[in-house]
């Protein structure tokens, strides 16, 4: 009798299904709990990779909740490719829709930060512009420039205090989360990506710039949202974290 990989897989992923017949121990007896080695290896290794990839979610849920939740997720969404650095791309959506924790509505967005950090860690390298490159441009020309951003830059918008939640769980001595909405930007100055809270209007500014808007238009978009939008502070953050790789300036006709 041939044991197909479909049959093996089904029993491996669901302990309620009998161990396939035709699997033996050294004496020719049914393999019994020896089969559990595979059940355990798969569940433990995928749970550990979720724990490594989502340390803040693991802390927020606590071990007693995280492990069973990860166990449900990994059976419903096993990796789709053997490159584990990408595993968990739909974990945020799972957290948002999994009924027993739906009331923890911020979890999905916090998980998005953790995914963005992982993507940024493995993102392509890019040479940033010199820190004084913007200062070299005549002030009257600045509104017309456009930017190209480093592949490691990521924006995570949220209605929840996701930066505070992340920091409170990852940085010793970080203050307790405030009850505010926070958008987050992930930047990688060299090799270690870090999240930063964006000021109101910041996400709108960056989204516009990413889509190719000029600095003037994008800043206007931001001030529509937040009158006191501080363009200089945000540009400083981008420049000091190697986020801008190219400035383009179109000559006026």
């Amino acid at each position: 009798m041939t044991i197909s990989q479909t049959v093996f897989r089904a029993a491996m992923m669901d302990a309620a299904i009998d161990v396939p017949e035709g699997l033996l121990d050294g004496q020719g007896n049914p393999a019994g709990r020896r089969f559990s080695v595979y059940r355990n290896n798969v569940a433990v290794s995928l749970t550990e990779s979720l724990e490594t990839g989502f340390p803040v979610i693991a802390k927020l849920l606590g071990d007693a909740n995280f492990k069973p939740i990860a166990g449900i997720y990994l059976r419903q969404s096993p990796p789709q490719a053997p490159v584990m650095m990408h595993y968990g791309a739909d974990f945020p959506n799972f957290l948002r829709t999994f009924e027993p924790i739906k009331h923890l509505a911020y979890l999905g967005d916090v998980a998005e930060i953790e995914l963005a950090l992982r993507r940024a860690y493995h993102a392509a390298d890019a040479t940033p512009i010199a820190p004084d490159a913007l200062a070299q441009i005549a002030p009257e020309r600045l509104p017309a420039v456009t930017f190209t951003f480093a592949p490691a830059m990521e924006i995570v918008p949220s209605q929840w205090p996701i930066y505070d939640l992340w920091a409170y769980n990852m940085i010793e001595g970080a203050p307790k989360p405030q009850a505010i909405a926070q958008d987050v930007i992930v930047l990688r100055a060299e090799f270690d990506p870090e999240p930063h809270p964006l000021p109101p209007g910041g996400a709108a500014f960056l989204t516009a710039m990413i889509q190719g808007a000029t600095l003037g238009d994008a800043a206007e978009r931001a001030t529509e949202i937040a009158e006191d939008f501080d363009l200089g502070a945000l540009l400083g953050l981008l420049l000091s974290n190697a986020a801008i790789t190219k400035i383009t300036y179109e000559e006026q006709q």
Binding site: M1, T2, I3, S4, Q5, T6, F8, R9, M12, G22, L23, L24, D25, G26, Q27, G28, N29, A31, G32, R33, R34, F35, V37, Y38, N41, V42, S45, L46, S49, P78, P79, Q80, A81, P82, V83, M84, M85, A120, Y121, H122, A123, A124, D125, P151, A152, R188, F191, D192
Partner: protein, 286 residues
């Protein structure tokens, strides 16, 4: 069969270690007695950042062995063309000394299980594995080595012994073999045979690399020992003894220390490598 010259580049007959990023500074400073490094292919499939930057430094100083853990060579379905392309890309830019993979399956129906799953040793499996290796070797343009698995159970349907099966796969595909001595010890304990019989049957002339690692101890339903390949502990004395026995028969080979979980500080790993170096000094050069 791979269209390539019959002489393939080889690792030095010294100890190597499975590379872990936390050891980067110490390895670059003084890797003694380690003479080469092994990386898991799938950890270096990102676009950039620290992993690739470190690898570019390491490859200037050390021969690199690329060890794939996710191709699912024993899978019933065709090999994943996207993963083949990723392997081809890595091997092209890095130009490692050797490439190896496992006699196992790990992907089915679009899902990847992050574990090395067992195969029955039948004619159908043999044909499939040899074809898949042929396809991989043609894709990456070089020979690969195939590693023997750790077994926790056996398939009633198997008609070949594992060493015979591996010999035949190597003959048909032209691949080399990677002999994991800890896996032999684990399988022999679990399936109740003498690991020396396995080594005696193994085509040692095809072995281009030896693996050593730690395992965990459990027991089965009948209270018999059930060893689990974990790569998370020191190598036990009986495995060192089996290495000595193997080297007596095979002559010197490159020996890798694998430690992938609960990774220790560098001196602990270097000490295991030193023990492998000592084992090699006891063997007359081939």
């Amino acid at each position: 069969m791979l269209d390539a010259p019959s002489h393939f580049p080889a690792l030095p007959c010294k100890p190597g270690v499975g590379y872990k990023p936390q050891h980067f500074a110490e390895i670059m400073e003084n890797a003694d007695p380690v003479g080469w490094l092994e990386i898991h292919a799938e950890n270096y499939m990102g676009m950039g950042g620290r992993p690739l930057a470190q690898l570019r430094h390491l490859t200037e100083k050390f021969p690199i062995s690329v060890h794939g853990v996710g191709l699912s060579i024993g899978g019933e379905a065709p090999l994943d063309p996207e993963h083949l392309a990723r392997l081809k890309h890595l091997v092209s830019w890095l130009n490692p000394t050797v490439f190896s993979e496992h006699l196992a399956w790990s992907t089915h129906d679009g899902s990847y299980f992050n574990d090395l799953l067992p195969l029955p040793y039948t004619k159908a499996t043999l044909t499939r594995v040899a074809d898949h290796i042929d396809q991989l070797q043609n894709t990456i343009g070089r020979q690969m080595m195939l590693e023997n698995p750790s077994s926790y159970l056996a398939f009633a349907e198997s008609t070949w012994s594992e060493p015979d099966f591996l010999r035949e796969v190597a003959n048909r595909s032209g691949c080399g073999l990677l002999l994991d001595v800890n896996n032999v010890f684990v399988s022999a304990t679990n399936l109740e045979y003498d690991p020396r019989d396995y080594i005696a049957e193994y085509p040692l002339d095809k072995v281009g690399e030896i693996h050593l690692g730690g395992h965990d101890e459990d027991e089965d339903d009948h209270g018999k020992p059930l060893l689990i390949d974990s790569h998370g502990a020191a190598i036990v004395d009986p495995v060192w003894a089996l290495l000595d026995h193997t080297l007596e028969l095979s002559g010197p080979r490159p020996i890798l220390i694998e430690w992938d979980t609960d990774v220790p500080e560098w001196p602990v790993l270097a000490n295991e490598a030193q023990r492998a170096a000592t084992a090699l000094t006891k063997v007359p050069a081939a």
